[in-house]
Amino acid sequence: MSSAFSVIIDSLPYLLQGSFITLGIVASAMLFGLVVGIIMAVGLVYGNRFVRLIFSGYIWIFRGVPVVVLLFLFYFGIFTYLGLSFSAFTSVAVVLGMTTGAYQANIFKGAILSLPRGQFKAASGLGMSDFQAIRSIILPQILRMSIPAWSNEFSIILKDSALAFVIGAPEIMARTQFVASRTYQHLPLYITAGIIYFLLTWAGVLALRKLEKRLQIPGYSHYGS
């Protein structure tokens, strides 16, 4: 048991360095997904039939195919064919970003639909263009409402980032495995990894809750759980 303990102590700095990579991937993916999600959600609600069809197709595929599969496909296949020589880190961030983008699109779309229709009408009634109405009236409201659902998405992506290892970005899970293979202390190391993830999730969710509080406006209810 003492050897398990000393292995954990010894490897902790190495594992914790991995959490920077993990957080880097998660942050880039979430931001990328935010942009994708907003564009898609707006397109899905206000776009014409053609736009809606394309975006729905995108969401269908990215919701239907596991991230590992997408990662292999893009990293070894599509990116290569397109001549994009992304690093492992960038590739993971982009693929996870495209995936969470599909989910975020659904979150934002739900939020837009949950807004009273009068909000858009009133903006139009004042002479705002559709773009102005979406930018100044719709988005500020739905982004606020979506923070809880978004923090859910964050915790999912945080854990999905462990898949980064299949293409060689050495984040927490990969490092755990490396140390375990060398030391044969699998169980204690996996438990340690579990705790690190738990703390990261907790910290992230807490930070988002802070943000939500800061942005809070009297009388707001949330969309999603």
């Binding site: 009068g118 009133a122 002479g127 705002m128 009236i137 409201q141 009297p218 009388g219």
Partner: protein, 254 residues
């Protein structure tokens, strides 16, 4: 522009949703300073008509002239401009829930009229004062009572310097005790000579303010005329029957 030509002319507006014809060849016109009141049974098309006037709902056919100039329904810029000139007050206020009372007013001034923040705020404060809410500028819609919300909505519309104000049942979402404050503001607007068209069930507004009553039923204007005539004792109009029924429900029975 000829001083005597109507400020707004609506001609043969028709609108259907799916197979339902909601508005059928509706025409009317509005002179400067005139107040028209739309009444009639629920579902008669009052809201739809008002929304057609500023093209929040685009009519299937018909024409709209603002100050003698026809509005081209297919040109977005035309629509945006029309809506700036025709203010709209909704039954359920539709204040922007994420903005304070002040910002509810400034946002359109800044984004649409491209005014500076300072200018916009100055104007907004002025309008808030007019509706008696000078001290509430920092409150969010959720912190305002219904009557206060509706007054902010009115201030928001007025800040855009509209040529016409349209009000769609401005008091019907209010608690009976709060109706008074909104009615007072509307009467004050009338006194200042604002051109208005409003849908309402509020007898006190109908009988005291209306220059003309339009009675809408099944998508058409079934009757119209001055209130003295339509509501006059002995007149057998639909309008009078309808108003009497409204009256019975709310009035003290003797």
């Amino acid at each position: 522009m000829n001083e005597n030509s109507p400020i707004l002319r609506v001609e043969n507006i028709t609108k259907s949703f799916a197979d339902n014809t909601i508005l059928n060849q509706v025409s009317f016109q509005l002179e400067k300073g005139e107040i028209k009141v739309l009444i009639g049974p629920s579902g008669g098309g009052k809201s739809t008509l008002l929304q057609c006037v500023n093209c929040l709902v685009i009519p299937d056919s018909g024409r709209i002239f603002l100050e003698g100039k026809q509005v081209d329904f297919s040109r977005r810029q035309d629509l945006y401009l029309l809506r700036q000139q025709v203010g709209m007050i909704f039954q359920d206020f539709n204040l922007f829930d994420h903005l304070t009372a002040l910002d509810n007013i400034t946002i359109a001034l800044r984004k649409v009229k491209k005014k500076s923040r300072i200018e916009a705020e100055q104007r907004a404060r002025q309008e808030l004062e007019q509706v008696g809410l000078a001290d509430k500028e920092d409150l969010y819609p959720a912190q305002l009572s219904g009557g206060q919300k509706q007054r902010v909505a009115i201030a928001r519309a007025l800040a855009m310097d509209p040529k016409i104000l349209m009000l769609d049942e401005p008091t019907s979402a209010l608690d009976p005790e709060l109706i008074g404050e909104v009615i007072a503001v509307i009467k004050q607007l009338a006194a200042r000579g604002m051109t208005m068209i409003m849908a309402t069930h509020q007898i006190s507004l109908i009988s005291t303010l209306a220059d003309e009553i339009l009675f809408m039923e099944k998508g058409s204007i079934a009757e119209h005329g001055a209130p003295e005539i339509l509501l006059g004792a002995g007149n057998n109009s639909k309008t009078r029957g309808f108003c009497n029924r409204l009256d019975e429900l709310s009035g003290v029975e003797k």
